[in-house]
Each structure stands twice: as structure tokens, then as C-alpha cells.
């Protein structure tokens, strides 16, 4: 086939013409442009490559203009120009719609196949913000960065917008016709097996049914699944332990002692958001509730789970199994084949203490194996949990949520073999990007060439679509009808919030067409599938007398009640232990999902690119993570480029030294180095998939690292990692708190209000305050993205971040203490403290930042002249300045749609900062007034508070003695950051506690002169 190699496009001239046109002229000039040779040429090329523009601060304006042009041009090419808008009032106002007030709809967001219930906020038909669905078991109202940022993808101007045939613009009808012909030929010739469908992990009951219908129509047609971050090892571990692929989910609300075996409980598991919530409830300590679950972590790459752990031991990923084995052996787990040696980093004393603790908490303990750990570790964890009687308590086994007849790696490998053997006539890739993320040794791209007809459906035109004959744009989930199962099996409904912005369709629609189904329109497909299930009595909970009533309820709730998979009894089968793996020597390479761009699918998402990764605080890039000792041995430092070679393949990557990383082990976050994505993601980072082979999907040994002498700039938002002995994040000993009700901390003199010459402010109405519990904060940065979405915080690009100009209103500081090899890690979210005695207020020459009557430190953008004195004088450095024009979307109307209409978009030259979500306070105030009542505690929920999966943030009225925030202020662990400066901050913290195992950590006596007791 001749797939068209796409070239970079010189948009300047086109753009110049556009810039000269205005209003209606704008569209007319487009028509004129369409006649020009350069426009015609543009039509035949697809991706204007201007990604580097994003990184150049000064030409950013230009970039945004380009972005606008690309939308406009795409509009022209798609013949889908937005209709002329006439502003007229409703003659008959739609039910519930009040102009200016948002509506909320339940929908579902899926990652890795697993759904998280979401609530989408819609302003006059325009979704602007996503929250967790409080009724959904995977969310309980909380969310994470991925969910928060996924709304940006909806408005991404680089999203795929039209059907492409060999890189040329085609139509959906044309595609359907061609597809129909191909399928009919296959059907007629009985060559059904020549049709292959390749999807990502699918948990959607309707999608599964439809794929089966395709298989019924074309017998022999095979369905393959591939997702680079898959759960093959989890599945294989379950098969080894129980003889069947059961799913394991955890009940952290019952867990007292948890051991993580290289598992990122807080981020990587399908139920992480829920687990975080449950476990935070077990770790939250109050004066009247002095209980705290303990978390042990044996891990390779430092994660937020390890950072929160009371004890963390670093071992190489390949050594985790040995630790698990020794722990199992010393617990007396039966059926173990040999016990093995403990690796460096964990000694016998540790294992003794650990096992004693686990044994003491049999039934309330929990061992969680990491997703990247091999099946043997999962089998060992199953055996330990079974041995400790945790199954049925903290561990629940159920039917698998994602039905897979075989592992994804094997499935993909079989597909590639068939492709090479010319056994595949037609490949339909629905979602995903296998050309980019398939194991390197399979050479998926090479094998693809042998396939007669290749179809790709996806949100973005990507590396895979580039090599396919057909590319079909997929709808964003906010434009789609669909369903998917959550981590516990709960069926989650996906309903659209907006008419598709482009000419996209959903996977359900495509599969329905392929199956020759009667219904092929998204809503009809879904509704009829559920009508059938309703009729068949598959919905066990009574949802009403008619299907329509039930359907309304399902759509309203965003889930089908009673569809969680029930617990199912399991028993260990003989020979469950897969035996000890023998590690070959050499350096280890670990492939990890990236905490912000995931497997690469979010590479074009500016919010996620700019969200600092929790541990490294890097933005816009990935890096090869090594321990300080390994960096020293290799003679490399941060930003030094090294050549990494594994199994004959090599890639160049910049080094980032990460304390806590095991020695002689290099972690390569996946998801970067995309060559075909939008202008945001192209050219960021390096592609770790280049080294990832089928036998080393998670980690392997035998990596070669060679310094190249080159350097590559990385943009980190935090350059200094020590607290310098300052009283910033208070960390106390839980046992001390348990017995004394206080912790030791450095003595500081906090000036009282009487020490000021000025009288204190009086708050006769409300007095807002915030409290952040550092003991349950996991540092996941969900609050950062949530705030960005709520408050129209702009994206500034890599160069600007490297320049220290990121705009996030809330940041999560990460400090290390203790040894550099395996330090203690603490997190501290910092936003505006809304000081009662604010240093910023007195220095502003124009009164642009003033003290509100309810205690808020208010920023008046219109009055700001931009002297930046306030930012200089802020001891917390939470003020953010618009150094350049970061929000010029005049030519990018799509991006404007995303903005929260309740929050001002800031112009160049003004200061901005956290407002305590004042727009939400005002809405709550109006609501209370309309209802004729006083505001009550819980009426105001800030964006960060709402998103926080650990519920670490409390917000409310300090003048209300019964409020949660007033109670938080009474807690002995509560303290104000830098209070000794006399700023009297309204955002306070609760100290972090370490619930150490006293066998391992005998309490240390500190001299009383240095510390004081609360």
C-alpha cells in the first residue's frame, strides 16, 4: 500500500491571510483560500507540525493563532463549519435549564478498560468540568488527574476530525460502503477468519455482545485485545493460584496492615480511587480517633504509595518476588517450593517484624502485588492472603471484569504471526495505538504491511492510523453513548453531553455496523441492548415497572445498580507456586506507566503534560530514572543523555536521579516519544516502547547504559528537595500521638493578633478556612488538575515551566528527608493561604489584592497593573503571574468552549492565584438565599477538595462552630505553615504521622530544647 507520509506544513502564509480577515470575512476568506495552491496542498497533508512553537515562550501567541487556523481549516475541510449563531432567548425554555446555571449529568470515563463514574458539568450544553460520581463505587465522588484532564481531549483541536482514506479526506458513508463490500466479500467467501478486530481492553457488555455478533456473522473472525498497560500478569497469577482467571479486588476499609509488593495502590490499580478513599479513612487520625492502619511497601520505582508508607524498602523489581517468597515462607504458607534468599535492601529482621505484624492482624491484613510484578508474585500474594484469612475480609475474588480468553500479549503475538502468514485480510483496530505501543520485538508496524485492508478508529490520528488505509475519528466519551464495567464489575453508563464536535462515531456504532445489526446509531444500539437485557431479567435490582423508567434511572445514576460482581469462593490449587525465578545479573530496566500521560494516550493533553509528576516533579518529558549511587557509578547527572540498550535495541534518554530508586535499576516511564500526535505531544520525551519486548513488558535485566556526553533540558517544577530543617511539613510519631495526644515539632514563636499595630479584621458573617490533612494526602496531584480545570488555569509549555512560570494555583510540594538512597518522602499541597495578615495586600500599590469581608484574600484582575510585588512578598510563593499572553484563544474558539464561565480568564500582565473557588462560594450563597436558608457546612466544596481521592481537604466556615473546618482547627495536629511570620494563614495543615513498627523503629528520644509538645 502507499500510505502517505505526511509532511510538516508551512502555515504561516495561510495564517497571515486569516489574520487579516475578521468576522464573516473570516469564512469568506477561507473559501478564497481554498482556491489557492497552498490550501489545496494543505488539504492533502494532514498534520501541521508546529509543536516546537509550543515550547518557545515568545512565539506561543503565534502557536495559538496557528491552532485557531488549524481548527478553521479543518472546519473547511470537514465541511462542518459551525452554524451562524443567533442569540435569541428560548421561546420555550428546556426543562431544568436556567441560563447561567450548570446542569450535571452522570457519565463514565474509562481508563485501561475500567470505568470510573463521572459527573459532567454542562453550561448551556457545553461540558466544562468533570467530577467523580458520588454514587459510583469506583469514585464515590473523587477523581484523579486523568479523569479531570480528559475533558481537555474533547476540545483538543488536534483531535481527529474527518474520515481519512490513505491520508485523504473521505466520508463516513464512503467508509461504510467500502467496509460493507469488504465484509460481504469475506462473508460470501467464508473467509471470516481473515477478519481480525483489535481493541483495547473491553469491559463494555454491549461492545462484547456486538463483537460476538460480528463473529457470529463472520465465523472464524477473531477478536484480539492489546493494551500496553494490561493486566496479563494479574490474570496469570490468578490462574496459577486458583486455576481460573478470577479478579481480585480489595476492601481497604477493613485493612489494618497492608503490605504492598511493588504495587502502586493509590494510582495503578483499576480501583485506585476507591482504594485511596477507603484506606485514607483507615489512616486518618483525630484526637478522638487514634487509630491508624499501617502501610508497608516493598517497591522498586518510587511511587506515591511508597512515599506514604510507614516503612518502605527499595529492592529491584526482579527481587520483589524473593521478598514475597521469604515472607510467605516465614508465615508458614503451605505449598511453597523453596524459600530463597532475601535480596539487598530487606533483611531477616524486617521480614520477622513484617510477618509478625501480618500474623497479628490476620483477617485485617492485606498483601497487594504490583500490576507489573510477574504471575508468581501474584500467586504468592494470593497464597499469603488466603493463609492469613484475608479472603472474604480485605480481599474479594470475583468473576473477571474484563473477559479475556488469553493474555493480551499472547493475543497480540498470535495476531502478528497471522498477519505475517498472510492469514489476515482485514484488520479493524478500534482504539489504541499498537504501532506505537506493541512490544518492539513483534514489529507490529512491519507485519501490518501484509494486511490487505487496515482500518483504525481513534480519538486522534496517530502512529497506527498513519499506517492504515482508513482512519475513522472516534467520539470522545462526552460525545458518546456506551457502557463499561468498573473495577468491581458495576456497569457504568456513558452518555453524551454534547453533539459530536467533529465527524466522529463510536466504537459501538462501528461494531454494530460490522455485525450488520438492526440498530447502528449509538443511542439506539445501547438502548436496545439494555432493553433486551431488561427483558431477559438480567438486571436484578428493581428499577421500575417499565424499561423506560428503568432506563431513566440508569442514565440518571450513571450506572446499572446491582451489577457489581459478587464475591466468589476460591481455593488454592495444588502447584500454585510457579517456582522461584532465577535473576540474571546486570542492570535492570523497568517499564512503568507514566503518572501523567499514561500509556501515551494523553500525550496531546496539555493539562496532563504540565501536571508535575508526583515524585520527579517533571513536566513535558519522561526521563530514565536512576538511583543516586547508580548515577554516580555511571558518571551521569540530571539531564545527561544516555544510550540505553536492551536486547539489541537502543534509545537515548535523559537521566533523572530519583532518590529511592533501587541501585542498578533504571525505570523508563512509557507514553512519550510520540511521533504522530497533536502539536502538544509531538516531540516530548523519548519512546521507552522502543526497548519493551514481549518477554520484558514490565521489567528485565540486561540493560546497557552508556553516557553520550549530550544534555537535554528537562523541566521540573521543584529544584530543591530538602526542608532545610525548617518547620514546613510536620511529621510526628503515631505512637507518641496515640499516648500523649501530641507530637514533637520545632519550637516557633507565633505572634498573636495583639502583636500587630493594626486591629484584627472582624468577620460577622462567614469566615472561610481550609485544612489539609497531610497524613492522608497521597501527593497524587489530582487537586492540581482539578483546579486547572475549574479555574481556567492556562497551560504555558515546557520552556515556560523550565523558566519557573507554571501557572498552577495549587501545587504539591515534595520533600525528601533522611538518606539520599531511600529517603522519607512527604507531600504538601500548597495554595494561597488566604492570610488574615497577608503580606501581599499591603504591598500592592493599586489595591488589586484586598481582604474580603469573609476572610478571602481577593485578587481583582481588572485592577492589577502587574508590579509583581505581591508575588515577591508572598512567603508561600503561591501567586502566579501572566508573564506572557497565555490565554489568547481568539483564534481557537474550541478552547474557549472549555472555559468555566464562572471564572474570569486572565489576560497578560496580571497576577492570579487560588481564590478558594470563590465562584463556588457565591453559587452556594445564592442557592441558600433562594432557598431562604443560611448556608450550612458542606454547601461549599472547592475543586481540589472535591477531586481529592483521599478526602484530605476540609473547607468551610470557621465562624460555624459545628463545621468540619472548625473541628479541624481544634485538632492537636493542626498547624499553620510559616505561622511564625505572623501571616495568620487561613489554610492550615494537619501534621503527618508515621505509624512505624516499633520493632523496626524504636522511638528516638529528642532533646526537649529543640522541640515543643502540642
Amino acid at each position: 500500500m502507499t500510505h502517505q507520509r505526511l509532511h510538516s506544513v508551512e502555515l504561516t502564509e495561510l495564517q497571515d491571510k486569516l489574520a487579516r480577515a475578521q468576522g464573516k470575512q473570516y469564512w469568506r476568506s477561507l473559501d478564497e483560500l481554498a482556491e489557492t495552491p497552498e490550501f489545496v496542498e494543505y488539504l492533502h497533508r494532514e498534520f501541521p507540525e508546529q509543536a516546537s512553537e509550543m515550547n518557545d515562550p515568545v512565539s506561543r501567541r503565534r502557536f495559538l493563532q496557528l491552532m485557531g487556523a488549524s481548527i478553521a481549516l479543518a472546519g473547511a475541510t470537514a465541511c462542518n463549519g459551525q452554524a451562524v449563531e443567533k442569540i435569541v432567548p428560548y421561546v420555550r425554555q428546556p426543562e431544568n435549564m436556567i441560563p447561567g446555571r450548570p446542569l450535571y449529568y452522570a457519565t463514565g470515563f474509562s481508563l485501561g478498560g475500567y470505568a470510573i463514574g463521572a459527573l459532567a458539568e454542562s453550561h448551556m450544553g457545553r461540558p466544562t468540568k468533570l467530577e467523580g460520581n458520588p454514587e459510583h463505587p469506583a469514585s464515590l465522588g473523587s477523581s484523579n488527574s486523568y479523569l479531570q484532564a480528559s475533558i481537555l481531549d474533547l476540545y483538543d483541536p488536534d483531535r481527529s476530525q474527518v474520515v481519512l482514506n490513505n491520508g485523504r479526506i473521505a466520508t463516513w458513508e464512503g467508509f461504510i460502503a467500502a467496509l460493507g463490500t469488504e465484509l460481504a466479500t469475506l462473508e460470501a467467501s467464508g473467509n471470516g477468519s481473515r477478519l481480525r478486530i483489535l481493541t483495547q481492553t473491553v469491559t463494555s457488555p454491549t461492545q462484547i455482545d456486538l463483537i460476538e455478533a460480528v463473529q457470529a456473522r463472520l465465523p472464524g473472525a477473531q477478536w484480539h485485545q492489546w493494551e500496553p498497560i494490561n493486566r496479563d500478569a494479574v490474570r496469570a497469577g490468578a490462574v496459577a493460584a486458583f486455576g481460573e482467571p478470577v479478579d481480585t479486588r480489595y476492601d481497604f476499609s477493613r485493612a489494618s496492615v497492608v503490605l504492598s509488593l511493588d504495587a502502586d495502590i493509590y494510582a495503578d490499580l483499576p480501583g485506585s480511587i476507591r482504594y485511596t478513599r477507603d484506606f485514607a479513612d483507615r489512616r486518618r487520625v483525630r484526637d478522638d480517633d487514634r487509630n491508624m492502619a499501617r502501610l508497608y511497601s516493598v517497591e522498586s520505582t518510587p511511587t506515591i504509595t511508597g512515599a506514604s508508607a510507614d516503612h518502605r524498602w527499595r529492592v529491584r523489581a526482579s527481587d520483589v518476588e524473593a521478598v514475597a517468597r521469604v515472607v510467605a515462607a516465614s508465615l508458614g504458607v503451605a505449598g511453597l517450593e523453596g524459600s530463597g534468599q532475601l535480596p539487598d535492601g530487606v533483611d531477616a529482621e524486617v521480614v520477622d517484624a513484617l510477618t509478625a505484624d501480618l500474623r497479628a492482624h490476620a483477617g485485617t491484613s492485606l498483601v497487594v502485588p504490583g500490576e507489573g510484578q510477574p504471575p508468581a508474585v501474584h500467586a504468592l500474594a494470593h497464597a499469603i492472603n488466603a493463609h492469613l484469612g484475608n479472603v472474604g475480609e480485605t480481599v474479594v475474588h470475583s468473576e473477571p471484569v474484563a473477559p479475556q480468553p488469553q493474555s493480551q500479549a499472547a493475543s497480540l503475538e498470535a495476531l502478528v504471526e497471522d498477519m505475517r502468514a498472510d492469514a489476515v485480510g482485514m484488520l479493524v483496530v478500534i482504539g489504541g495505538n499498537p504501532v506505537y505501543d506493541a512490544p518492539a520485538d513483534l514489529d507490529f508496524a512491519g507485519a501490518l504491511d501484509a494486511v490487505g485492508t487496515r482500518v483504525h478508529m481513534g480519538l486522534h490520528a496517530n502512529e497506527t492510523s498513519e499506517l492504515c488505509h482508513w482512519h475513522v475519528p472516534e467520539n470522545h466519551f462526552l460525545e458518546s453513548w456506551g457502557d463499561a464495567r468498573a473495577y468491581d464489575g458495576t456497569v457504568t453508563l456513558v452518555q453524551p453531553l454534547i453533539e459530536p464536535l467533529y465527524l466522529g462515531h463510536t466504537a459501538l456504532e462501528l461494531t454494530a455496523i460490522m455485525a450488520g445489526a438492526a440498530e447502528t446509531e449509538g443511542r439506539a444500539v445501547l438502548e436496545s441492548a439494555w432493553r433486551d437485557r431488561w427483558a431477559a431479567g438480567e438486571i436484578e435490582v428493581d428499577l421500575g415497572p417499565t424499561f423506560d423508567k428503568a432506563w431513566r434511572r440508569i442514565l440518571h445514576d450513571g450506572l446499572v445498580p446491582g451489577t457489581a460482581y459478587p464475591a466468589r469462593p476460591t481455593a488454592l490449587v495444588g502447584g500454585w507456586d510457579l517456582g522461584a525465578t532465577v535473576n540474571s545479573g546486570g542492570m535492570e530496566v523497568i517499564f512503568r506507566v507514566d503518572p501523567t500521560v499514561y500509556d501515551g494516550r494523553f500525550a496531546n493533553n496539555g493539562w496532563l503534560q504540565e501536571t508535575p509528576k508526583p515524585l520527579t516533579k517533571l513536566t513535558w518529558d519522561n526521563a530514565a530514572l536512576v538511583s543516586p549511587a547508580t548515577a554516580e557509578r555511571l558518571g551521569v547527572a540530571n539531564e545527561d543523555v544516555v544510550e540505553l540498550t536492551y536486547d539489541g535495541r537502543s534509545v537515548r534518554a535523559p537521566i533523572w536521579v530519583l532518590p529511592g530508586q533501587p541501585d542498578e535499576s533504571v525505570t523508563l516511564p512509557l507514553g512519550y516519544g510520540r511521533t504522530r500526535t497533536g502539536r502538544v505531544g509531538t516531540g516530548t520525551g523519548f519512546n521507552a516502547y522502543t526497548l519493551r519486548t514481549s518477554d520484558a513488558l514490565a521489567f528485565a535485566t540486561g540493560l546497557d547504559v552508556a553516557p553520550t556526553g549530550r544534555r537535554y533540558q528537562l523541566a521540573s517544577t521543584q529544584m530543591h528537595h530538602s526542608m532545610e530543617g525548617r518547620d514546613i511539613v510536620r511529621v510526628g510519631d503515631f505512637h507518641e500521638f496515640e499516648s500523649t495526644g501530641g507530637i514533637q515539632h520545632p519550637h516557633t514563636h507565633v505572634p498573636g493578633p495583639e502583636e500587630s499595630l493594626f486591629p484584627p479584621y472582624e468577620y460577622n458573617g462567614h469566615s472561610w478556612g481550609m485544612s489539609i490533612d497531610l497524613n492522608v494526602c497521597i501527593g497524587c496531584t489530582g487537586c492540581v488538575t482539578a483546579c486547572q480545570a475549574e479555574n481556567n488555569v492556562p497551560v504555558v509549555g515546557k520552556t515556560e515551566v523550565a523558566n519557573g512560570r507554571e501557572m498552577h494555583w495549587i501545587r504539591v510540594d515534595r520533600y525528601w528527608s533522611g538518606g539520599v538512597e531511600n529517603p522519607e518522602t512527604v507531600f504538601q499541597p500548597v495554595a494561597c493561604m488566604h492570610c488574615d495578615n497577608a503580606p501581599c495586600e499591603v504591598v500592592c500599590p493599586v489595591a488589586a489584592t484586598v481582604h474580603g469581608s469573609e476572610g478571602l484574600n481577593e485578587m481583582v484582575y481588572n485592577r492589577c497593573v502587574g508590579t509583581r510585588y505581591c508575588a515577591n512578598n508572598c512567603p508561600y510563593k503561591v501567586r502566579r503571574f501572566n508573564f506572557l499572553d497565555y490565554t489568547d484563544y481568539d483564534d481557537a474558539p474550541m478552547m474557549k468552549l472549555l472555559h468555566n464561565p464562572d471564572v474570569t480568564v486572565r489576560s497578560r500582565g496580571v497576577m492570579e492565584k487560588c481564590t478558594y473557588c470563590v465562584q463556588r462560594i457565591n453559587v452556594a450563597r445564592q442557592d441558600a438565599k433562594v432557598d431562604g436558608r443560611e448556608m450550612v457546612d458542606g454547601d461549599v466544596v472547592t475543586a481540589c477538595q472535591q477531586a481529592c481521592p483521599a478526602q484530605a481537604i476540609t473547607f468551610g466556615d470557621l465562624n460555624d462552630p459545628d463545621s468540619a473546618i472548625a473541628a479541624a482547627r481544634e485538632e492537636p495536629l493542626h498547624y499553620g505553615l510559616l505561622e511564625e511570620l505572623g501571616t495568620r494563614p487561613r489554610t492550615n495543615y494537619m501534621a503527618r504521622l508515621r505509624n512505624a513498627n516499633t520493632t523496626l523503629n524504636p522511638p528516638v528520644e529528642r532533646s526537649d530544647s529543640e522541640v515543643e509538645h502540642d
Binding site: R805, Y815, V830, A847, T867, K877, F883
Partner: protein
Amino acid sequence: MTEPQGVLKPDPVIEPGHDYGSITEKIASIVDTGRQPKFWWVGFGIGFALMQLFLVSAVWLLWEGVGVWGINNPVGWGFAIINLVWWIGIGHAGTLISAILLLLRQDWRTSINRFAEAMTLFAVACAGMFPLLHMGRPWFFYWLIPYPNTFGMWPQFRSPLVWDVFAISTYATASALFWFIGLIPDLATLRDRATNRTGKFVYGLLSMGWRGSAVHWYRYEVAYLLLAGLATPLVVSVHTVVSFDFAIGIIPGWHATIFPPYFVAGAIYAGFAMVLTLAIPIRWMYGLHDFITARHLRNMAKVMLATGLIVAYGYSMEAFMAWYSGATYETAMIEHRLFGSFAHIFWALIAVNVVIPQVLWFPQVRRSTAALFCVAMVVNVGMWLERYLIVVTSLSKDFLPSSWGEYAATRWDWATYIGTIGLFLTLMFLFLRVLPLISIFEMRTLVPGGAGKKGGDDE
């Protein structure tokens, strides 16, 4: 202190052999012959070229925003504020020489006050550019001025930046008035000497009908003395207020009570360095050795030495108080300055501002114009470094280590800075071309046996 001159009388402030006519001829001819030495054209050319650089960088700045500079979080002030303080500091010598030395009857000031005052004005003009340009939205600069408006808003009077507006504008106004009043008799001389219509008209207009009558002289003397009295507190107040920009802040390295006196001393130090930097070439260019004598240069060197020592005392007190207070943040700030990422700037500052100027203790150095010029240039650089250190290092590392950051100037920072030097040079050379650079009528009073006062003993 008297230098070993072998005579009992101090050096004259005007070389012997001059009478009223020769003084007038010598000074006025620079202006009205219409021919300038080659040096003038070279200097003016350089200045004018650099001024274009300023225009380009200002336009680019206004077009793109202050993001073209190297400022960031946490370093929200960079070159702009450094340059503001530097230029304001330079502007100090003019008023000091004109007003305070006048009140103290230091008649050696006569031959340098005119161009020192001009220097002050031009330096203040350069300084004034920066607070405007550094604003995020400079077109709203007038919001800092209290004026009746429909917003019903005043400036926020607790902010030192508002005080700055008053201090700097008052200083600029007073300096300009003082300069202009002092020019009137000389403008009349130029008017009388003018041979063409333009000269007659312009100088005639500017001399405000000066006829040299006794009443004119009387009123002139009263006005000049009154203005001197008014200007004197300004010498202290301007830089005191500028220092408040920092001292009022709570940032370690800013929040120090020593700042006002230390800034004033630094300003005089910088101002005299700049006067020397200008006087030495001008003296050479126009052959004014008779009027700007070795004694002038020596006196200025001594003032520099004295103020330089005050500045050095300021540095040491800053460090001492940080250590003595035992305050975590203060100690860390000093450590950061001394040994941190900006240590090279600190030690360079100590070298150029404290160590090198000590050569001024030696009479040989004070007598050598070349050596004096070098020391003055070194001090100019040193005072700039001092402001860099105060503005940048304090901000780069304050309370929360998570927010610590570095600062690097961009080419636009440099272009703007060098551009204002161009503006300064352009104005200075234009001044030399169109106005008498030394006060003609005041020089006449220095002629021995003349009508004026006698050369006093200033040493």
C-alpha cells in the same frame, strides 16, 4: 586632611590666569561655535545607536509582555528593578553636589554641579523608564497616582511603590527646577552671544527675560537657596523610599532596618563614581583642566572612599545581624549569598565595591586621572552588582525550599539595560552640545579678586 603640596594654601578650584572673559569664552564657546570635537560625535553616535536598541527592546516588551525578560516565580523582579535602583542611585550625586555642598559653602562644587545635575536628571529619566516598563500592564501606570476618578479608587497608600511614585517624581521635579533656575543666567549669556536667529530665540525664551539686574540677582539667589534647602531632604528621602521597596517586604535579605542609610550611602557612592566617570573624559575632551582641577577629582575620590566604607559597613552588618539574630531564614539567606549559586556575584561585589576602592587611600591614585577613572568604573559595576544581589538572591531562595528557583537574564534584559545607557549618553551629549556644561557665572565668582566668594578650605 591636607595633601603634601608644600604650600599652606589648598589647591585652587580654578587655575590661575583666568578672568571673566576667558571663563565665558572657554565655556560658552563649546556651545556656540557649533563645532564639536570628534570625541563628541563618537560618543553621541554610540549613545544614539544604543538608544535605538532601547526603543527596539521597549517596543518588543510592550508587544509581547514582560515574559521576554528572565523574571519568573520566585524571582518576580529582575533587571528592571536592579536598573531602577542603580540609575536612581547615580542620580543622587547631582542633588548632593548642587544642594548640600551649596549649603555647606563648598565652592569647589561650582565647576561640576551643572553637569552633575544634568546627569541626575538623565539618570532619573532612565530610572523612571523601568518602573513603567516592568509593569505587566504599563498602560495603567496612572492608577498609582492619586487622582479623582469614577472608580472611586485611591492608590493603596501602604505600598512602598506608591511612596516611590511620590519620591521619584518629587525628586525629578525638584532636580529639574533646580537645574533650570541655575541655568538662567547662563542661558542669558548664550542668548547674548548667539549669532543666529534660532539661538537668539530659543535661548531668549529659556532665559526668561534675564537682564542681570540687581533685583534679578537677588531673586535668583533667594530662589536658588530655597530650592537647595528643599532639595536637601530629597537626597536622603529618595533612596530611603526606594530602599523601603525592599525593607517593607518580609523576604529575608530585604527585611532589614539598615536599608535606608545603607542605600543612601550607596547612592552617593554610585553617584560620585558616575560623576568621575563623566568628568574625566569631558575634562579631557574639552580641555577643561583649568576648571575641573585635580583638586575636584581628589575631593570626589575622597567622598567615594568615605561612602564606600559606609557601604562596606552595611554589607558586614547585614551578615552580622543575620548571624547574630540566629533567625533561620536570615542565616540561610546570607549563607546562600556567600556560598550559594550566586556566590560569584557576591564575591565579585566585595572585590569591586569594597576591596578595590581601598586604593583611594593612596594619594598617587587620587592624583592619577586614569586610575580614578578605572576605580570609578569598577564602582559603577559594583553598585549594579549590589542591587542584583539584593533583588535576585533574596527572592530566589526565601521561606519554602520547594519554591526556590534561579534567575537568568535574557538578551532582552540586557538590551533594555544597555539601551538606557544609550539614552543616558544621548541626553548627556546633547546637553554638552546645547548648554554650558559648567556654570559660567558661578565660575566667574571664583576668579581671585573677583566679585564672588573666595575659595574656601574644604579639606
